[in-house]
Amino acid sequence: MNNITLNIPSIMEKADLAKTKYWRQNFAARGILDQCNKVKNDFIEDFLYHPVTKEILAGPTSSNTSGTLGGYGNLFSFIGFEKDQKPIDDILNLLLPIEFDYFFSQKTEVTIYVRNFPAIDEIWNATPMPWSDGGGRSWAKGIESGISGLNYYVNFERELKSKASRSGYGLELNSEKFRKTLSDRQTNQDSTSFKLRRYTPTSYITMLFQGYRTRLNKLLSPTNKIPLFRLAGLLK
């Protein structure tokens, strides 16, 4: 019968080393997760403090602080949202669920990944024009590429009809009368809420997305791709 000689100090050393390595890997991964979460929070903060977001959040009584309408009216009314509508929530609902996590894919490798990172198309799909039947054109994309005055026209018409019904008599809204009322409104220097102005496109979601995607990619490994980041050998 052969005796087995155990080199206890050596085993203990290796066990400690393994424990330490595991602990170090965990620690490093958690550190990266914290940084990822910071990027996410910065992303949401930048989105919420973007001049366009702030103007829309301010609702139908705000002024055109983003300058996209030449200082007249405001984006909330120009796009044509209902007064109780919260269009920014539709985007926030896609950004808030972003999560980061990690797992040990091999003894010396940790994979960090992101859950629920929306594709840019998901943002466009979640932000349909208020006059549409729920799909198609996105107001968020329109902020970047241009928004026609159609929303303004629809809203103006609704405003006239609503005034007519509130006053208790039917307004005979024919084309000639509508055009005259529209023209009067546009030439009235005191009126800012519905003054028809050309919309000037500005950078918005796409720029934020690209910026934060780059930050996340830099933070992780050179080869990573959203939604899966691979930290090959980084924690050896």
């Binding site: 039947d133 198609g136 005055g149």
Partner: protein
């Protein structure tokens, strides 16, 4: 002034759109009937106009089942078109003849478009407002046997191309030119609207031949310049392609439409993202 890339793009987009739409929808009908005389002070005094109760007529010979007339019967005698003195104004649905007496009995067969297509530089809101005006005018000026010339008629599709930008693509100065092509659709019923939207939603990844500006087939009288036009020839002649990178279709909801002045019209929009790789000219 020399035509530029945008002119070529607009011509290419319009010709492709028309051909693609009528090829897929077959939204046209064969008609036989009388042409009714009316006055048009924009025509030279020696020319007389005779209209039909349809607006735009088909002139693209690339469709096997579309009849393109080569002439009409004037007082029972066949009069062939010569593209100068006797021709069809396909844009305004009428025959124009030099020296044809106003009392002549003119009959013939032609193919009428069920949906009219216009190219415009106007904004969406102006298109909608102008449509109201045009409908008001046409209501006050109803003719049972012809339509007044130069006025637009529903159902209609208004095409335009808007914002264009260049992005670097390859060394040596090659750019990707991205252009927004738009179509505003106004129809009398949701079936027509859905047909048009469905056809163009499927144009994602299609190619459009980039044609020369002077390839537009229609002259100032609304008649083919050479007397004959086929989009098949265009496709064979021009090899450079514009790529449809993305298409988005949007319908105005009934909730909004019912508040609208033109609530009897169904309104939709098609937004194309057109891409082409090119060097600056």
């Amino acid at each position: 002034m020399k035509p530029q890339f945008q002119h070529k793009l607009a011509t290419s987009y319009l010709l492709w759109f028309e051909n693609y739409f009528f090829k897929k929808s077959e939204a046209y009908s064969l008609q036989t009937g009388t042409f009714t005389n009316f006055s048009d002070d924009r025509l030279p005094p020696e020319y007389n106009a005779f209209g039909v109760p349809f607006k735009q007529l088909m002139y693209d010979s690339s469709f096997a089942n579309v009849y393109i007339p080569s002439g009409l019967y004037v007082d029972g005698n066949f009069l062939p078109f010569d593209n100068e003195n006797y021709f069809l104004d396909y844009e305004n649905g009428r025959f124009v003849g030099n020296g044809i007496p106003t009392g002549s009995q003119i009959t013939g067969t032609y193919t009428a478009k069920d949906v009219n297509i216009y190219y415009t530089n106007d904004t969406e809101e102006n298109i909608v407002l102008n449509v109201q005006e045009s409908i008001d005018r046409s209501v006050n000026n109803v003719h049972s046997s012809y339509y007044d010339p130069y006025q637009q008629k529903m159902p209609a599709i208004y095409l335009s191309n808007q914002i264009s930008q260049n992005k670097p693509f390859a060394f040596g100065g090659m750019n990707e030119t991205l252009t927004q092509g738009k179509a505003v659709i106004l129809t009398y019923n949701s079936f027509e609207l859905d047909t048009i939207m469905s056809i163009f939603a499927d144009t994602y990844n299609e190619n459009i031949p980039l044609v020369d500006f002077d390839a537009h087939p229609i002259n100032e009288f609304g008649s083919p310049k050479t007397g004959y036009y086929s989009y098949n020839d265009i496709e064979k002649t021009y090899s450079k392609q514009i790529f449809i990178k993305n298409v988005v279709t949007t319908k105005m909801s009934d909730r909004i439409r019912h508040h609208n002045l033109i609530k009897f019209l169904y309104i939709g929009f098609v937004d194309f993202e057109l891409s082409i790789f090119r060097y600056r000219s």
